[in-house]
């Protein structure tokens, strides 16, 4: 019974709890047990079984009192440790925030609790969401539940930065988890772990209470095992928040109810610039299969051009570090988190600025430091125009490319990543190669567009491959409809063998 419950997704759990097939407490207990047994994956920084149980009990009580249940009632989820949670340590996987216990709840997590969800724990991630492999966490790497076929025991990357989320969902430690996507941080780990992840239009989900990485790019979204679960969860997460000046003041549609995989009359754009030199043949094959599936769903496949694609990633690696260098200035050892006091030097008492430098040196990991330095450099006197301003202009061109493309298509199909998952440690000494992981994900981020990754097949090594869909602003419905069409045809049922 227990193991079966943890195979269920968001909708199945919600409906089962509502109809009394099982109690929310049983569900929470089953997932708590899976979380407790999965230490080897290191997916959670903190487990909060008591929170999951308390939320479940509240749902069970409400049900027996005949009250109306929320759209996520009885569903325990994992919370990426970038969302501030009232009374529960929030670290962004950094040493500098170790021990930080917010006295407030992020809007997105509050929305989820209001919808009846419960929290299994805080999920590991790349430090401050900077990374594509989950190797930059202060609390250790997350290990993917997936291993290569043929008995290889190499620890694989779950992707990043929402790697704890992708690993936990694919390993059935939770039916769904929150993610955040700045330049692919939902989509790339979803692809690596064979799950579905949706980054909605910029502004759909409030950023209030989410530890900021790059404000103009950060967007929260759901990660689950199918499109419908993502739609249900996104409905619960999204909504106008007056506390976030960039929040969209628009009603949240009933995405889940309106899901429709019939794409008759829809045009799917295939951006020719995404076909890059030396691309993995299996990725290309997967892309081809995607076209066939969407054609089969009634869509017309059209060739499109997004001419500035090549420049999106370098622009991103100016804009995101620039914003991050400023967003992370608040971690200074004064009001929260780590404080490191250097010893007095040469008879001179260490002062405030010395304390800052020591705290930040000790508290930030290498990748975070690297990006802060890049960001500081590109904003510094004399370089602003050449780097930051030029990058924001290129960003405008990338967005214009998409706008033009919407004249000839309704949704865009592309690979999510240039490769499948890779072994942890294999890209250690080369930040640049690591950055290239996000080459297909970043353009939609720069343009603020809704985009998702949906599992579409396996490569010859037995690792999942995702397909990426990108839609017009605010058209999460069209996006998820296309995702559903792929899901229904891909028949992706693979799951990692439990070795942990």
């Amino acid at each position: 019974m227990m193991s079966e419950l943890t195979d269920l997704g968001v909708k199945a759990i919600r409906d089962g709890v509502a109809s009394g097939d099982f109690s929310a407490r049983e569900v929470a207990e089953a997932f708590n047990a899976n979380v407790a047994a999965a230490g080897a994956l290191n997916a959670f920084i903190v487990a909060t079984p008591e929170k999951a149980l308390a939320a479940a009990d509240a749902v069970d009580e409400a049900r027996s009192a005949g009250k109306q249940l929320g759209p996520m009632a009885g569903v325990p989820i994992g919370m990426k440790d970038l969302f501030c949670t009232d009374g529960v340590q929030t670290t962004a996987a950094s040493h500098i925030l170790e021990g930080f216990v917010p006295r407030y709840e992020s809007t997105v997590s509050a929305n989820l609790w209001k919808a009846g969800a419960g929290m299994l724990g805080k999920l590991n991630l790349d430090q401050f969401a900077m990374g594509s492999s989950n190797e930059t966490s202060y609390f250790g790497n997350v290990v993917s539940p997936w291993r290569t076929a043929g008995g290889g025991n190499a620890a694989m990357s779950p992707g990043g930065s929402s790697g704890g989320s992708s690993a936990a969902v694919s390993a059935r430690l939770c039916p769904a988890a929150t993610g955040t996507d700045t330049g692919g941080s939902i989509r790339q780990p979803a692809a690596f772990a064979g799950i579905t992840g949706v980054k909605p239009t910029y502004g759909r989900c409030s950023r209030w209470g989410v530890v900021a990485f790059a404000s103009s790019l950060d967007q929260a979204g759901p990660m689950a095992r199918n499109v419908e679960d993502c739609a249900i969860m996104l409905e619960a997460m999204a909504g106008f928040d007056p506390k976030d000046a960039t929040s969209l003041d628009m009603p949240v549609p009933n995405w889940a109810e309106m899901l429709d995989a019939d794409l008759t009359g829809k045009r799917v754009g295939i951006p020719r610039e995404y076909r890059m030199d030396g691309m993995d043949a299996e990725i290309l094959d997967n892309w081809e299969r995607g076209k066939t599936m969407l054609r089969d769903a009634g869509a017309e496949i059209v060739d499109i051009s997004l001419p500035h694609t090549k420049y999106a990633l370098p622009a991103y690696y100016i804009i995101a570090p620039a914003e991050a260098s400023s967003n992370l200035a608040r971690y200074d050892g004064v009001r929260f988190g780590l404080r490191e006091m250097p010893s007095d030097k040469d008879g001179e008492r260490a002062g405030l600025q010395d304390m800052y430098a020591a705290t930040r040196s000790e508290g930030f990991g290498d990748e975070v430091k690297r990006r802060i330095l890049i960001g500081t450099y590109v904003l510094s006197a004399g370089f602003y125009d050449a780097y930051y301003n030029q990058a924001q202009k290129v960003r405008a061109l990338v967005a214009q490319d998409f706008e033009k493309a919407w004249g000839s298509c309704d949704v865009i199909l592309a690979p999510t990543t240039p490769t499948a998952s890779f072994p942890l440690g294999s890209l250690d000494d080369d930040p640049l190669t690591m950055y290239l992981n996000d080459v297909f994900a970043v353009p939609a981020s720069l343009a603020g567009l809704p985009a998702m990754s949906v599992p579409a097949g396996m490569n010859s090594q037995g690792l999942p491959l995702g397909l990426q869909l990108v839609a017009k602003p605010f058209d999460e419905q069209g996006l998820m409809n296309a995702g559903l069409a792929i899901e229904q045809r891909a028949g992706f049922t693979a799951r990692p063998d439990r070795w942990w």
Binding site: L217, L248, Y317, R360, I372, G448
Partner: protein
């Protein structure tokens, strides 16, 4: 444009991250690698392009002038504000003494 060690040291100081020599040495090629790569943006003709300011067309909303409009944006919560401070005394945050 490439950075040398003194430049990296200067940036690190501007960013208030103390770095020893070894760290600085290591950062120089890494940063140059990344900077060299992002410089391809210079190829793009942007002479008629305005830099992007709003990702999704949207106007800046303004709030009404109301004190403690809601608990999450208002004051009167000193205990919460100081709760995580490494050094808090008498209702203040404490920092190493500053000489102005």
């Amino acid at each position: 444009m490439s950075v040398d060690k003194p430049t990296v040291a200067k940036i690190a100081s501007l960013a208030r991250i103390s770095m020893d020599d070894a760290e600085l040495e290591r950062m120089v090629p890494e940063l140059n690698n990344i900077l060299g790569w992002v410089e391809q943006l210079g190829e793009v003709d942007t002479s008629d392009v305005e830099p992007m300011t709003a990702v999704i067309p949207n106007t800046l909303r303004l709030r009404e002038d109301e004190v403690n409009a809601d608990g999450l944006t208002g004051g009167d919560r000193r205990e919460d504000v100081l709760a995580n401070a490494p050094a808090a005394e008498h209702g203040f945050f404490g920092v190493p003494k500053v000489i102005e």
